[in-house]
């Protein structure tokens, strides 16, 4: 097996808050191979976004990465000095955020913003930079791109804005794109378009992607592998088809069962009882135990990661084949 593009091991990110140390990312490990799309799934507050920012070294105080390692092609990124990390951001690892209305600067033309992103990593003449920007914008499906470089973000629709943001991430043909819920703020029909384009982009360019989402449906249409996060930890990880068809962790099976598309028409929607625990007061054992129908004394100790072929899970009472979740 070839070495992975990105290897995250035991990544831990903590925030010092008034209520105490908040461990938003708690010993997260996963790998992403070249050309692979990994779906990082979890509820709001499960730590998936913070994981993305931790990889890029973009955690603002009072937060900081307190442990673990992130290796890109073998190069350690945790603890890398600012300048060296900046050379990687946007160049080798790019990021797309949730809401393009919040991420693009409203008072700079998109040509100016993309130009800044280009010049962060390359010396390019103005004419050549514009040519390159227009080419990338055209590739993400923006018509008449050369002319629209002088337009401002508010002159684009939500879907077009997100295409611009994706184009900015593509400028330097990065090895990895971290996409943090990039379709959440969009209409369903636009979501589908963007998903289709991202899919073909990944296939064409061979870049890897971490697709962060709370939406299992989007992830299932895109990801090769899925990692499920709960309360800062990865609780289950494996090939997408396997995890979705035959979940082992009871949180994953609960999530799948609560998908509206799986409900019988007219029947009540299934939901996971209770709410995620506070990250400053985690139970000593399995964090999901208070909400789990199968929890018992064994769940008061932290379940170890159990490897089963290509997949891993952390559950004392994994869901068995044929068992109703």
């Amino acid at each position: 097996m070839t070495a992975p593009l990105l290897a995250v091991e035991g990544l831990t990110t903590e925030f010092a808050t008034k209520a105490g140390i908040l461990r938003a990312v708690n010993g997260v490990s996963f790998e992403v191979a070249r050309g692979e799309v990994m779906g990082l799934v979890g509820e709001s507050g499960s730590g998936k976004t913070v994981t993305g920012f931790s990889i890029l070294g973009l955690i603002d105080p009072p937060g900081r990465v307190t442990g673990g390692s992130v290796r890109l092609d073998g190069q350690e990124l945790v603890g890398l000095p600012g300048g060296a990390m900046r050379a990687i951001r946007g160049k080798r690892i790019a990021m797309v955020f949730q809401d393009p209305a919040m991420t693009l600067n409203p008072v700079l033309s998109i040509g100016t913003q993309m130009g800044l992103a280009i010049r962060a990593h390359a010396n390019m003449s103005e004419a050549k930079a514009r040519q390159h920007m227009a080419a990338v914008l055209t590739r993400v499906g923006i018509p008449d791109a050369a002319r629209r470089l002088d337009a401002f973000p508010h002159q684009f629709s939500g879907g077009m804005r997100q295409r611009v943001a994706i184009a900015m991430a593509l400028l330097h043909a990065p090895d990895l794109i971290i996409a943090d819920e990039p379709t959440t703020a969009l209409d369903v029909s636009i979501q589908a378009q963007i998903l289709a384009e991202v899919k073909s982009l990944v296939a064409e360019t061979g870049m890897a992607m971490i697709w962060i989402s709370h939406d299992l449906a989007t992830v299932s249409s895109l990801a090769h592998r899925i990692a499920v996060m709960y309360a800062g930890r990865i609780v289950e990880q494996g090939p997408a088809v396997a995890v979705l068809r035959q979940p082992r962790h009871r949180y994953t099976s609960g999530l799948l069962a609560s998908l509206p598309s799986r409900a019988q028409p007219g029947a009540e929607l299934v939901q996971i009882p209770g709410a995620p625990p506070s990250l400053t007061a985690l139970p000593p054992g399995c964090a999901f135990a208070p909400r789990c129908p199968r929890a018992d004394r064994a769940c008061e100790t932290l379940p170890a990661m159990t490897r089963e072929g290509q997949r891993v899970h952390a559950c004392h009472h994994p869901v068995e084949a044929g068992e109703a979740a």
Binding site: D60, I88, R89, M102, L104, N105, V107, L116, A120, R148
Partner: protein, 324 residues
């Protein structure tokens, strides 16, 4: 755009009319200015003649009407003290005020904005704390006190700089300016410095608050995720985003300094319009007071118009009729 400007100018006319009425009524209420400048031994006859000559015996509405008619001919009246037409009188004092006011607001902005951005960018650094202490000082210590300290220090003890009056001037397009001569610049330095402290403090606070807020937004995180240097993040993204409040305050400060640099001009006996208005108030020089305050209203309207036009160039969302 043209319609916008015309609409604003019409508004300006209304505001100036209302302003002139208020000032006129207010000045009328203060009392008869004749007694202030007639010699104490003037006869009753001379007194009545003078009053009639200026029209002060007429009812208020008639005096106001005459004022308006003369104003329509571009005549603001004659100063009771200087005996010359008011408009040239005010215009002759304006360059002196203009140069210290502009110097103070410009220096305050060009220095205050970078300092404020730094203080907002690294709010916990010792330098940022020093900057903020400086701005509290500039805000809370009264102008007249700083002025006196400046005079005592640089004018009296050290003797480095002249402590009052305007220095040599040079005519530029027929307007006398002193900042182009060495002697004039020396005279200008202390009064301009005195005015600068408050502007500086204000610009520091404003830029710091804007920067702190913007640094936490996703716009900045996205720019950093693209690998932009901190210099580019601050110089391009942050500066452009905080520029709108800065332009607003720049306009307001320029207007109020031009109109009311009274304290500084008095302390440094700077022959500007602020000193003119305070002198005409003490001598009840009615035409000067009225004309001055109407012109101040005009000044503010003009500055606000320019500020609004600047907004449109700074914030594309405010431009109308342009969609891509």
């Amino acid at each position: 755009m043209l319609g916008f400007v015309i609409q604003r100018l019409l508004q300006a006319v209304v505001v100036m009319l209302v302003m002139s009425m208020l000032v006129f009524a207010g000045v009328y209420a203060i009392g008869n200015p004749i007694d202030v400048f007639l010699p104490a031994n003037a006869t009753q006859e001379i007194r009545a003649q003078t009053i009639a000559a200026y029209g002060f015996d007429r009812p208020l509405w008639e005096q106001y009407w005459r004022f308006l008619v003369r104003l329509a001919h571009g005549d603001f009246g004659r100063s009771l003290i200087f005996g010359m037409p008011v408009l040239p009188l005010i215009l002759s004092k304006l360059p002196a005020t203009l140069e210290i006011a502009l110097a103070a607001v410009l220096v305050g902005t060009l220095l205050g904005v970078p300092l404020g951005i730094y203080a907002g960018y690294r709010p916990n650094s010792p330098l940022a704390r020093l900057i903020m202490a400086l701005s509290i000082f500039g805000f809370s210590v009264p102008t007249f006190w700083i002025g006196l300290v400046l005079i005592l220090t640089f004018g009296v003890y050290l003797g480095w700089l002249p402590a009052g009056s305007r220095g040599d001037t040079v005519l530029v397009f027929g307007v006398p300016f002193s900042f182009l001569t060495w002697n004039g610049l020396q005279h200008m330095l202390l009064p301009a410095l005195n005015l600068t402290f408050f502007k500086l403090a204000m610009m520091i606070r404003l830029s710091r608050a804007g920067t702190r807020e913007i640094m936490l937004t996703d716009t900045i995180k996205f720019a950093r995720a693209a690998g932009l240097s901190e210099r580019a993040v601050l110089g391009r993204h942050v500066l452009k985003l905080i520029s709108i409040p800065i332009v607003t305050v720049f306009g307001l400060e320029l207007g109020s300094t031009l109109a009311f640099a009274v304290v500084t001009e008095t302390i440094f006996s700077w022959p500007g319009v602020g000193k003119l208005i305070i002198d005409s108030i003490t001598s009840l020089d009615r035409p000067v007071m009225v004309a001055y305050l109407v012109l101040v209203a005009f000044l503010f309207i003009t500055i606000n118009l320019l500020v609004d036009l600047t907004y449109a160039t700074l914030d594309p969302r405010l431009r109308r009729g342009r969609t891509a």
